[in-house]
Amino acid sequence: MDFLIFQNPILIVQASLDGLLLGVLFALVAYGMALQWGVMNIINVAQGELVILGGYIAYFLYTAGVHPAFGILVSPIIMYFVGVGMYRTVIFRVVNRDLFISILATFGISILAQQLMNTIFGSDVVIAQSNFGTSFLFDYMVTLPNAKIFSAVVSIFFALIIVLYMKYSKLGRAIRATAQNARAARILGVDTDRVYAATFGINAAICGVAGALIAITFTLHPYVGLPYTVRSFMIVIVAGLGNLPGVAISGIGLGIFEEFSDYLFGTEFRIACVFLLLVIILVYRRFKLSRKREYLK
């Protein structure tokens, strides 16, 4: 390619904006994962399937003649109850158990969800048309699909709402208290079981919003949930638990890094580059921690 991106500097702008818009959406899904991981100490392998299910709800509206953008209102409501239902049937049994058990349980849920979606919605790849049009920058040289801009704006909006809710609402305070110390919260009268159910429900609702946005920006298929799980897992690992600005920065950063690695190393190495970055970050962190320990000695 002879580094096409340097021959056409306008591609740098295009790649940065594409990465930014992509990253914001991934950051939203990752935020949901960080929330329930931090509070419940559960790695939800079925995160991607929740996203896809949310997308199918928006798609269902679309086939019924409603604009799929309304999915961002309907999907989280339905998904909240799906999340609470999942907690009440399966997750509550694994909350205080070994992390491995929760991974296994959510992996089971993920397989079940895939097969159920396949049976209910069929195995065709589907999309919902938003017809939002396109925005142009720099004399038509940079194109930005309005659907992606819409997704990014909605993602930021929902993330802000959740942050404010966590900070100022009674349930938000209870969730934060449970995350800090579940036992102490219980002693002080917090119904942690209810908090866990609500947390899982809120995570599912976030996935619902993200899914509705994916229906209008990308494609839906019962078996494409895994990339969303992996991506959000990576973002959370990089950002650290309970670090919301970190999740946002790491999501956007990874999105932009991914776009640039596409131009520099080729599309086939795009995802490999992201994983390589993850390894480097983890090794660097470990290195930093070990230095700290030595200092403390």
């Binding site: 591609l11 065709d124 194109t143 659907a147």
Partner: protein, 411 residues
């Protein structure tokens, strides 16, 4: 009570062992020829698995209604034992073993997809079971020296060769600049090999050669590169997800390219899902209803389309048509072999040279159908109603190719 359960365990073990060592000979039972097929009725290929099964069933029904298969002066009816391979290749291989070893099946029909056919082929080959398959197009199926595998469809590398030749022809016979984006899976990479060969043959230059990871559903970077390099043709192959993503993002990013050649337009219902945005996309297909091939069972493509739609309630995609053709090939081979001996049926299959509603069928030594060209259709819209119209080969073209594709600003 304990003795009773012990006896029961011993008896059931003996029955189990016997069932393993003495397979039932089920190749021909009474007046029935039993064929075996593992198709995907659940899992990610279930939609196409259903098309495959419906194609098989429709042909079985038709052949049986029209007098069946005549061997040694006696008329036999087809019957198929189906198993659900759950879209999983290891399961497909297990089921092929089961069909052969336990059900005693001696003639097989293929599953859906190249991957699953690749999993089953070694099993049928080892047991010397003739298999006529209709949904495995990967080139690697025909390079392993299989003797019992026969494919009625064109190989994957043939999918988009015609499109490149067409683009060169439209460029006054001069070489073209080519941008390619292929998913990293066996089928798409085979299609890529065919395109690269066509590019080398015509002296064309490949300016972009992106290999899309399977989990990727964003082609924005590839399309931005296409915008920057302005190639003559953009080739995309990445199953239904690739086709739908490409059209969505090409329309959103207003990527102008004189020719857009793709695969899986039919399977992804591109014209229906994307409407006018998919207009002028050029798509490779194994079959189209307007082709004028004929046979005495289904008449021509239009008639097959009509009757299939009446029975199953939807228009037949090419996966259903090629599956139906597989049964016609088996019937012809049995009658020519005039025997149910596997080696004779295998030799008769190898000598197949016939026309079906789906196209001409003649196998190379590798079992690949070499008598049927691929067809190219272009999505064309009349108002909001978009349809696939055949544009190549010219013999069957129902409309003229629109080239170059009008710019987005003029559409």
């Amino acid at each position: 009570m304990k003795i009773f359960s012990k006896i029961l365990v011993i008896l059931s073990s003996i029955a189990f062992v016997l069932s393993l060592i003495s397979p039932v000979t089920a190749k021909v039972v009474g007046d029935k020829i039993v064929l075996g097929a593992a198709v995907s009725l659940s899992g990610k290929y279930s939609t196409n698995g259903e098309h495959t099964k419906n194609g098989y069933n429709m042909a079985v029904q038709r052949i049986n209604d029209m007098g069946g298969v005549k061997v040694n002066g006696k008329s036999y009816k087809f019957e198929i034992i189906y198993y659900d391979d759950e879209s999983d290749s290891s399961r497909a291989a297990q089921l092929a073993e089961r069909l052969i070893k336990q059900d005693g099946v001696e003639f097989m029909l293929g599953p859906y997809s190249s991957g699953l056919t690749k999993a089953i082929a070694p099993v049928t080959e080892e047991n010397q079971i003739p298999m006529v398959e209709a949904n495995g197009a990967s080139r690697s199926l025909f390079t392993k020296g299989y003797k019992y595998l026969f494919a009625v469809l064109s190989a994957a590398n043939q999918y988009l060769e015609v499109a490149i030749d067409l683009a060169v022809e439209k460029n006054g016979g001069n070489p073209i600049n080519l941008a390619m984006a292929f998913e990293q899976d066996a089928f798409s990479q085979d299609v890529r090999i065919g395109v690269i060969e066509a590019a080398e043959r015509t002296g064309s230059k490949i300016t972009i050669d992106d290999k899309l990871p399977k989990e990727l559903n964003d082609m924005a970077a590839t399309l931005a590169k296409v915008k920057a390099t302005k190639p003559d043709v953009l080739v995309v192959s990445g199953h239904s997800k690739g086709a739908l993503t490409a059209i969505r993002q090409i329309a959103e990013m207003k990527v102008d390219v004189p020719m857009l050649a793709m695969t899986h337009c039919d399977a992804s219902k591109l014209a229906k899902q994307h409407g006018k945005n998919s207009e002028y996309a050029l798509c490779a297909a194994q079959w189209h209803k307007t082709l004028t091939y004929e046979d005495s069972f289904f008449g021509d493509g239009m008639q097959f389309d009509k009757e299939f739609t009446e029975i199953y309630g939807y228009a037949p995609p090419y996966q259903a048509a090629e599956s139906a053709a597989a049964l016609l090939v088996f019937k012809d081979a049995f009658e020519r072999a005039n025997s149910f001996e596997r080696s004779k049926v295998r030799d008769a299959l190898a000598k197949t040279d016939m026309q079906t509603f789906y196209g001409n069928i003649k196998f190379s030594d590798a079992g690949q159908n070499v008598a049927k060209p691929m067809v190219l259709f272009q999505v064309r819209c009349d108002g909001d109603n978009c349809e696939n119209k055949v544009v190549a080969p010219t013999k069957w073209a129902s409309t003229k190719l629109v080239h170059p594709i009008p710019k987005w600003s003029d559409r």
